[in-house]
Amino acid sequence: MSMRSPLARVRGLGSAKSGTQHFWWQRLTGIALIPLTIWMVVALICVAGADFEEARSFVASPLVTVLLLCLIVALFYHAQLGMQVVIEDYLHAEGMKLAALLAVKFLAVILGLLSALAVLRIALGS
């Protein structure tokens, strides 16, 4: 018979990770991306033949700027969550796995910030 309390047994024995957080954020960003990507595709179709000035003034309109920033955040967060699962499923060498995970996470942050900066530069006209 164990002398430990149920709570003590559970601590450190459960998933010891983050429970349903990964699942939840993947769904949440996925749901956000449904309207955002549909809007984005329609917008891209509309500016497909646009010249430089037209495309810039389109991105610079306030609603488009904000929606683009939302899209960038949701997209890069969703992408790195998905890539994480793929890496964890198929890369079994611990060192490689860790390196790939770090690369994906860091890349998502850097590329996301680069995209956001590009949108803001266009929006603020610099």
Binding site: R27, G30, I31, L33, I34, T37, I38, V41, L44, I45, C46, A48, G49, A50, F52, A55, R56, V59, L75, F76, A79, G82, M83, V86, L111, L114, S115, L117, A118, V119, R121, I122
Partner: protein, 132 residues
Amino acid sequence: MPSSNRPLSPHLQHYRLPLLAWLSMTHRITGVALSAGTLLVMYWLLALAAGPDAYERAQSIMTSSFGQLVLVGFTWALYYHLCNGIRHLIWDIGYNLDIEGAESSGKLVIVTSILLTTFSWIFGHALSGSPV
């Protein structure tokens, strides 16, 4: 159970994968492809921020026949992942979980993604007036 009767995991070289397995694999593959394809959209955005010359170069790459081919693939991958993602969300709230339902919704995803890709490109070219 005698060990010889134990169920085996599918031997990929001999076992014909069911439709649902292909659909699931395609969801992952399109997810990875879209992550890579996002770099393309990013490039366009960065070029637009950089100035007219960079934008001109980006536009000429995107409108080249290779660029258009990649973009068609990107569009289909996006629509597939979008439609199949919605299918996953419906499963997540507990609907359509039987095999027949999963198969018919899977077929719907294939047809819808192809139709949406076709319509998007027809509309895109009609609106932009480019001849391709």
